[in-house]
Amino acid sequence: MKNFTPPPIRPGIHPRSGLGYRIDHGMRSSVPCLFVFFVALVLSAPLNLPGQVELMPAIIMAAIFLWSVFVPVLMPSIAVFMLGIWVDILSFGPAGVMLLTMLIVHGIALSGRYTLARVNFFVLWFVFGVVMVGVTALQWVLCSALALHIVEFLPFVFETVLAFGSFPVLYTGFVWTYRFVVNNADPS
């Protein structure tokens, strides 16, 4: 049987797929996951930043949300799972809670991506805010249930507000990364 190769999505000149090209391609396409990995690593170091504890989930959630909406190929579910385990090991909270919330954010972004990828930035921002409120509430309920008493609510509110506020900055960073770092990695 003869093999038919589909025509390339972007016709033109393609680089030879040698070893160097593959390494370059691999590095570029692992940027999103590496970003989350290093954010977790760096923000768990003793930097004494104000609000450092709340900043880590905010940045991680926004990154997972954005990449899952726009380029889910580079933020697959299994990678989100691995990153969740990594974040959970680095933090000393109840085990698995961060993992579950990351997966839920990823799932929501993935299931709504055909709508979310087309909407205006401000609508996307609002949707992210709503998702964060829900996810943080779930986190609070789980932490309270696992600790068997009501834990303080204010840090969770702070986390939500911080995530909501840092979203535009992260969006700008995402657009820049997507345009200049990742997008050269042609999947064909």
């Binding site: 690593l41 768990s44 170091a45 003793p46 930097l47 004494n48 504890v53 709340e54 579910s77 299994i78 989100v80 799972f81 969740g84 385990i85 959970d88 090991i89 680095l90 933090s91 000393f92 909270g93 109840p94 085990a95 698995g96 809670v97 993992l99 579950l100 997966l103 839920i104 990823h106 799932g107 993935l110 789980l142 932490c143 696992l146 600790a147 008493h149 834990v151 303080e152 840090p155 969770f156 986390e159």
Partner: protein, 304 residues
């Protein structure tokens, strides 16, 4: 293995729900088998402890430098203040020396048994592992030193917390401000016993104090020797009323930026003597055997 496109798509759709189920399993596992998760985390922290130390080192240097610069700026005022303080301290030194002499004389008259000097190790705080729901720090220690779970952490001026997890090169200290920290304390002037309960804020509350002997604003709070690993008389802080009827402890230790901690080992300094008539219980899992005089001897048999 060649599989149809439909099958692969169905499989792809199942991945995320399966992973979410696994995450729920991880939560349950963390609740059921806490030591496993703690071991994993402490191993990772052990691996990263040198790196964290590298991050903490320049910060400490920078703080030292800026502190120095500030000191130089108000050298004059500081000198005047120190001279005044020196005069008052000299007075207190005389008082203390006289009291120490008197104390030594009294102790020698009473055949006082001195306390054992506790062993301690000192370590640098490499990471604040306080999360949204915990107040704790990670301490780098020499791998050769033996630190046990339940060790008492003190800084230069007061009680900081207790060791909860021990790794090879790092230990985790739960601060007294953590919401799961409950310590028996004595209020020094009113002589009341109370419990200091952390609530994740900077000021732990005082609870269970006697209603006819309420804490006095500003009185010292020290530990109370009611639990074995914590000796009596360690300085904790002083009482402060945030509002009427709600006394809190202002910790003497600088808990917002802890730099260097000493971990004291007070275990088995005081072991309670066996009470008279106490029967040692057999270990669980072993069958209880009768004392020898009630056991039937096989050579004698029932009829002697």
């Amino acid at each position: 293995m060649p599989v149809s496109i439909q099958f692969r798509q169905a499989l792809g759709k199942l991945v995320l729900p399966a992973l979410i189920l696994v995450a729920c399993g991880v939560i349950l596992l963390g609740k059921a088998d806490r030591p496993l998760i703690e071991k994993l985390r402490m191993q990772t922290a052990d691996l990263l402890a040198p790196a964290y130390g590298l991050v903490a080192w320049p910060q400490a240097k920078l703080r030292w430098l800026s502190g120095n610069l500030q000191d130089i700026r108000n050298l004059e005022a500081e000198n005047i203040r120190l001279r005044a303080e020196n005069v008052s301290l000299r007075h207190w030194y005389d008082v203390a020396a006289a009291l120490a002499d008197e104390n030594a004389a009294l102790k020698s008259n009473l055949h006082w048994i001195p306390d054992n000097a506790p062993a301690f190790v000192t370590g640098r705080v490499v990471r604040d592992t306080s999360g949204l729901y915990a107040r704790a720090v990670l301490l780098a220690i020499n791998p050769d030193t033996a630190v046990r779970k339940g060790g008492i952490a003190l800084d230069g001026s007061g009680l900081v917390g207790r060791v909860t997890e021990v790794g090879k090169r790092s230990v985790r200290v739960l601060l007294i401000t953590d919401s799961s920290s409950r310590l028996p304390v004595t209020l020094e002037s009113s002589h009341a016993a109370a419990i200091m309960a952390g609530d994740n804020t900077a000021l732990p509350r005082i609870i269970f104090y006697p209603q006819d002997n309420v804490p006095i604003e500003g009185e010292r709070v020290v530990t109370n020797g009611e639990i074995e690993s914590l000796p009596a008389g360690l300085p904790v802080g002083h009482v402060h009323y945030v509002r009427p009827g709600q006394p809190v402890v202002v910790p003497a230790a600088a808990l917002d930026h802890i730099d260097i901690l000493r971990i004291f080992d007070y275990e088995d300094t005081v072991s309670p003597p066996d009470a008279p008539g106490r029967v040692p219980l057999p270990n669980v899992g072993r069958t209880m055997s009768l004392p020898s005089q009630f056991q039937s001897r096989p050579d004698q048999g029932l009829h002697g």
